[in-house]
């Protein structure tokens, strides 16, 4: 099994899909000739040529819409939104057009597009280039929302996303683009299915994207036997897997990169609590970023993002007390 960087896994998935399906095309800003600002489309133009692989003007609304139009006429566009924030100039096409097109065509049209976007903090890109912003797309029936955490899941989930007949938002943890991992190109992963990346019996952590590694690192240090679930897909999320795990452990912690308020993690908690209230052994809670813009300064940005140390500390505490601990910014009285 070859080890490759996450960004190479992305490029490999696109290439493999383009090879096996001539309707797959890809475009975005500087993804063709320059092979992508994050080199996630290395070799794609060279192999598949300028008809199927294109650079676009800086026109996210225009090219996202173009993807929708191409999709309903038989193509499978995979487009790149360089930083998730740029979807703020194109959201209409994804949420209000693409995700409702099947419904409004009385089921006669499908919109098989994949909108890839790099997300997340940790690289010193500042407050307009470091968020994950799942909330922009998470409450959209008709749209799937997926986020890999390593090279293998990037490869397998992206292939599944491209094969999916409906629009998929594919959130790539930017900080992990350079990370290497083994990739089995035959391994299939299904959208909507979570992965248990570390089994355990005392407490369930649900994490996503770059927080999966944080959760894993914490799990290795925590004295209790923690189960770590890589959610992989936020919409539709794998209720069965999470409920099954919490049924076993009785304890639930969501580790989420988004700010405390308004993120996808509360959805997991609310759903689990509604279904398993009686059997929970401790208060379920979220470990998140604070309600603040992502700071540029390196020290602050590390502090801002949930860290293995913070996760460890909070989980040790809930194991002891059964109560939801305070996050660091309340503990330290800074917010």
């Amino acid at each position: 099994m070859p080890a490759m960087r996450l960004r190479q896994a992305i490029a490999t998935a696109i290439a493999d899909e383009m090879r096996s399906d001539p309707t797959v095309i890809t475009f975005g800003e500087d993804i063709a000739a320059a092979e992508g600002p994050f080199k996630t489309t290395e070799g794609i133009l060279e192999e598949f040529g300028p008809l199927r692989v294109r650079d676009t003007p800086i026109s996210e609304m225009g090219f996202t819409g173009a993807a929708v139009g191409a999709a309903i006429m038989g193509m499978k566009p995979v487009i790149e939104i360089m930083f998730m924030e740029f979807l703020g100039v194109a959201l209409d096409q994804l949420v209000t057009e693409a995700a409702k097109m099947r419904y409004l065509s009385n089921g006669t049209l499908s919109v098989p597009i994949v909108v890839r976007a790099s997300v997340g903090g940790g690289l010193g890109f500042g407050s307009q280039h470091s968020q994950t912003l799942e909330n922009w797309v998470a409450a959209t029936p008709g749209l799937k929302v997926v986020s890999p955490s390593d090279a293998q899941s990037a490869y397998s989930l992206l292939r599944a996303a491209i094969q999916d007949p409906d629009p998929v938002m594919f959130l790539e943890p930017r900080v992990a683009y350079a990370e290497r991992g083994e990739v089995d190109t035959n391994l299939k992963m299904e959208l909507g299915k979570a992965r248990i990346v570390k089994p355990g019996k005392d407490l369930t952590i649900v994490a996503l994207g770059q927080m999966v590694n944080v959760a894993r690192a914490a799990a290795a240090k925590i004295s209790a036997d923690v189960e770590v679930i890589d959610l992989c897909t936020i919409v539709p999320w794998d209720k069965q897997c999470v409920l099954g795990s919490v049924k076993k452990t009785g304890r639930l912690v969501v580790v989420e990169e988004q700010p405390e308020s308004g993120g996808w993690g509360s959805e997991i908690i609310a759903a689990v609590v509604a279904e398993q209230f009686a059997t929970l052994k401790a208060a379920p809670f979220r470990i998140t970023s604070p309600n603040a813009p992502v700071p540029y300064n390196g020290g602050l940005e590390s502090k801002f993002l949930p860290s293995p140390e913070e996760v460890t500390r909070q989980i040790e505490e809930v194991m002891k007390t059964g109560k939801a601990p305070q996050p660091w910014w309340r503990r330290e009285g800074v917010n």
């Binding site: 225009g62 006429m73 566009p77 049209l109």
Partner: protein
Amino acid sequence: MSAGMNRRRLVQTDPVAQFERALEIREFENQINGLFAAGTIRGTTHLCLGQEALAIGLAAVLRPTDPVFATYRSHGIALALGMTPESVMAEIMGKATGCCGGLGGSMHLCDMELGLLPTSAIIGGGLPIAAGTGLAFQIQGNDRVGVAVFGDGATNIGAFHETLNLAAIWKLPVVFICDNNVYAEYSRINLTTPIEDLHIRAESYAMPHYAIDGMDIDAVTTGITQAVERARSGGGPTFIEAKTYRFAGHSRADQALYRPEGELDKWKPRDPVLLMEQRLIKKGLLDSETAEKMKSSMKDVIENMVKVCQAAPEPTVDAMFKHIWTPKVRA
């Protein structure tokens, strides 16, 4: 051949049928107006009175395989393209027999057999999608053409700009048709747009452009044909501004009292349905008596159709969950 395809073929070949279709649109819209005024139908609606020639011209020139992305103001385009009055009216009434099963409503009409993509209620929403259909055709190497129809007001939204630029740089087989009916909601175009001839905006994209008389079916047909042929033969996109006039208010409740005095009257002699009739009579293809008969029988037909639709079933509850996700088909 389906009823819709038959209806489409008619407007493509027979000038009298075109006139009849224009009458149908006119009568349909008048009925809708009454039904909304009476509170029989809920929600909102946007009539295309005065814009019938553009709808007919589109249907006459385009093939059913040329997808059209239009707006909430598309009853006329839907009927012109061949959709049956029943499927449109039932949709507006929210009936299960409507083209979207009653889940879309007046602003969301669709018939893929005839090339009508789901109309969008977002200004500018359809433009990039139409460009995208052209992108698909370019890659597929066929000679289909994507078409976007939108209002004068839509030329001020960002998506318009981005789409025209993208279509131009990629030389996509697309035709952009701005139906300049002088108003965007309650605002006359001059209040929001500092130029008179909207088509000159295409200069920003080095895209061919021209205005056509949108009230004149022949001018419409000629103008659209030219652009469609350019697109079909690999010549890239064209921007057409069809000068029309919105004879009704913007939407259901609007009386259009903000119009300058006399403006409507000035446009009335240019009523596209009237012009069609006059022209057919002049050409000897129609006489006044027949025309009058056609009108009154169309009234009956549409009134009957309304009754049929009123008696049609409502959608069942499960319908609202039916078309959100595509069912998985395993190879």
